[in-house]
Amino acid sequence: MSANVHTDKISGWSGTQILRKLAGIRELTILAVIIVLMIILSFVSPAFLTTDNLNTTVLSVVMMAIVSVGMTVALVSGGFDLSVGSVMSMAGVVAGAFVLGGMNIWPAIILALIASFGSGLVTGTFIGRVKINAFIMTLGMQGVIQGVAYVVTQGAPLSVPLPNAFTFLGQGYIWGIPTLIWILMIVIVIADYLMRHAVVAKKVYYLGSNQNAAFLSGIRVGKVQTWIYIVTALLAGLAGILTLSRFSVATPTAGQGMELQAIAACIIGGASLSGGEGSVLGALLGSLLVGIVDDALVLLNVSVYWQSLVIGLVLIGAVTTDVLTHRQKA
């Protein structure tokens, strides 16, 4: 070992250095904010720290968190996906329509996921191969896929008779915890592991960090981009199917506005619109923070009309803090 290359160890660092390093990790900052918020809320409102309330709080953000995982991948690559809300609506509606047409729910789910995959494939191909700007392409697909959902339902929600085995996913409990939360945890654990260890995920980070360098280093930029939008669409499709299971109704507007909520959650969790940054854990924590803030407003008897205002402020606050701390470092 040459004198210039030290091994990767923390020894020799002072305590303040470690503290500063930890403060630089966005996920920990958000986690700290969440914990502080929870402590305050438990004092202000005795109803907060009850299993029921916590379950409700998390349940309200399960779909957002699942969609945010996909959005994280897109954001890390330097892109984003405005069509996820429409895909989410479409997947639920497609599955519901097939069931109403006499099909068993399980093959109907497979078909809904195939439809989501197809949507992602189209989006990804146009962005990755034809080189259409991600904003334009996903905005266009938002309209197209939403249109499919409207056409299938003729605009009205479909009441779908569903077997208990399926509604268990959206309405059941395992050991006192809603099945949906278990599903979310599985998605998070797998996605987080893959984002940190999978070669293909590494390529997403390369792409978002410097697309020119990625190209010259031999990474197939177009192919990676295509897969990114397939992943966002599949996760949105999953969220749509779970929504159907939760409410037993296929609504053509089930995912409306989800794309911006998911982007907000990811950004609060440390992702950056310029790419190269972001993590699955950050997306989860960003979603949870949004959920807890919503819940706090309810518990504090603040009118629901304040909700969007407060969430908007949280987003701006999180990003401003980040910009200011980064500026200090430079």
Binding site: M1, S2, N4, V5, H6, T7, D8, H197, A198, V199, V200, K202, K203, Y205, Y206, S209, N210, N212, A213, A214, F215, L216, S217, G218, I219, R220, G276, E277
Partner: protein, 501 residues
């Protein structure tokens, strides 16, 4: 003759490197003053200071006897100094008239007066005999036409007394060059001062009255145009002692390692053919814009090629896209470290393993310990100075960044390595290390092609030199032919002009 502008004892340093050292320049009314020097001699810095884009560390600018401090290009323009930039800076979605009159658009009741625009630029459009009008959108013009727009934009400033032209003819046809020279001559006769920067000797001798030559930030000669000829200028431009010892030359064998035949890819790479022999370092020299980078990018498939056959060790290889060249062991190291070379916000490890992810992963998952082991040994091999393999590349010095970039290709066992400006912007020590590394690679049988605009580097390092001019290979120089004078002679296109003239 009246001295309009005088720059006195100008010194400018960039993070420790002296770009200009005590340079003085007098611009007289009624005189065209040419400034010459090789890439990096300090011409651009001098012009940027004169036109307010940069501020000198010391020294002063005196206009009509009054000392001026330019804080911005607008300041300089208000004091009568206007420039035609080498790079086009047009607004493509606006009209020709709006481009030319940007900043002082004629108005009527707060609205743009289109008729006035047409009137005020008519003279110049007619003079150049252009096929477009004041209302044509600039994005529909060809590059030479856009350059004409750019030129008119600076000529239209009638209050100016000093006109600066920074390689204005780089994309003009002969006819337009003639017209431009007529305009410059007109300005001179009106008593204006003209500064003209170009690499092209025939142009310099055609229009300049006075010539100043820069080398390494110092003024090494100034005098009337009659007192110089091409040879004496070249000698002044390049005459310098080598600043460090280069590794000994190699013993190239007769065996052809890599053969490029009739490669064409756009206007900057025309019918390029050459051979690379086992054990040699091949230098590829050309002035900025000559097409060196385009040739390299076409070889590795980063740019589309129209024609061209490549063979490696006598076997034809088919390179359509960049992955093809990488799988054949032909690698290209970009000149543009920050923009297309490195992942600045990622770790050293990430930057090193990017080219060879397969070898540090199994069943699609990264093996972090293996990647770290490989990176650490590569860092040790190239003496990369860093705390750990997890350090972010943006926090490294230029020399260490460059080493990291070289490392990512070395990890993949190159057969042919094309390095574009491998030592740009790094310190002397790191330079010497990279030169030694390249020689070692070459001795081990790796084909090494070095593209550089630094003459001493090309002369010191290469066993053979190809000189590129205007997208073609002008000359192949061997052994004692490899001198800075000879290379510059071909790189300036003198040979072409002699042939034509």
């Amino acid at each position: 003759m009246a001295c309009l502008v005088s720059m006195e004892h100008i010194t400018k340093t960039f993070s420790g490197n002296t770009a200009l050292n005590d340079v003085s320049l007098e611009l007289n009314g009624g005189e065209t003053h040419a400034i010459m020097g090789e890439n990096g001699a300090g011409k651009s810095t001098l012009l940027n200071i004169l036109t307010g884009s940069l501020q000198p560390d010391s020294g002063k600018i005196i206009i009509n006897g009054k000392e001026e401090n330019f804080k911005s290009p607008l300041d300089a323009s208000n004091k009568g100094i206007t420039i035609v930039h080498q790079e086009l800076s047009t607004f493509p979605h606006l009209t020709v008239g709006e481009n030319i009159l940007v900043g002082h658009l004629p108005q009527r009741f707060g609205l743009v007066d289109r008729r006035k625009i047409v009137e005020s630029i008519k003279y110049y459009l007619d003079f150049f005999g252009v096929s477009f009008t004041a209302n044509t959108l600039v994005k529909t013009l060809s590059i030479p036409e856009q350059q004409v727009v750019e030129i008119i934009k600076s000529l239209i400033v009638e209050s100016a007394h000093t006109y600066v032209f920074d390689e204005p003819t780089s994309s003009l046809g002969d006819e337009d060059v003639g017209k431009l020279f007529k305009l410059i001559e007109g300005l001179r006769q009106q008593g204006k001062a003209v500064v003209y920067v170009s690499h092209k000797f025939d142009e310099i001798f055609r229009i300049s009255n006075r010539i100043t030559i820069l080398r390494d930030g110092n003024m090494v000669g100034t005098g009337t145009a009659e007192s110089y000829n091409a040879e004496s200028i070249i000698r002044l431009m390049v005459g310098r002692s080598l600043d460090h010892i280069y590794p000994p030359h190699g013993q190239p064998s007769e065996k052809v390692l890599f053969d490029v035949n009739n490669l064409s890819a756009g206007p900057k790479c025309k019918h390029v053919s050459f051979k690379l022999y086992q054990g040699e370092i091949l230098g590829l020299f050309g002035l900025v814009g000559a097409g060196r980078t385009e040739i390299a990018r076409a070889i590795v498939g980063a740019n589309k090629k129209q024609s061209g056959d490549l063979s490696l060790n006598g076997k034809k290889i088919n390179i359509k896209k960049i992955q093809d060249s990488i799988s054949n062991g032909v690698f290209y190291l970009t000149e543009n470290r920050k923009i297309e070379g490195l992942f600045l916000k990622m770790s050293i490890l990430d930057n090193v393993v990017v080219t060879d992810l397969d070898s540090v992963s199994s069943s699609g998952l990264l093996r972090h310990n293996l990647a770290k082991k490989k990176t650490l040994s590569a860092m040790e091999h190239l003496h990369v100075k860093a705390h750990s393999s997890a350090q972010l590349v943006q926090s490294l010095s230029g020399g260490n960044q460059q080493k990291v970039m070289v490392t990512k290709w070395l990890e993949r066992q190159p057969k042919v390595l094309i390095l574009d400006e491998p030592t740009r912007g790094i310190d002397v020590g790191a330079k010497a290390e990279i030169h030694q590394l390249l020689r070692d690679l070459s001795n081990k049988g790796v084909g090494v092609i070095v593209i550089s605009s630094e003459l001493p580097e090309i002369v010191g390092l290469s066993d053979r030199v190809l000189v590129v001019y205007d997208g073609s290979i002008m000359a192949e120089l061997r052994k004692e032919q490899i001198t800075e004078d000879m290379i510059m002679h071909y790189a300036s296109g003198l040979e072409v002009n002699e042939r034509l003239g």
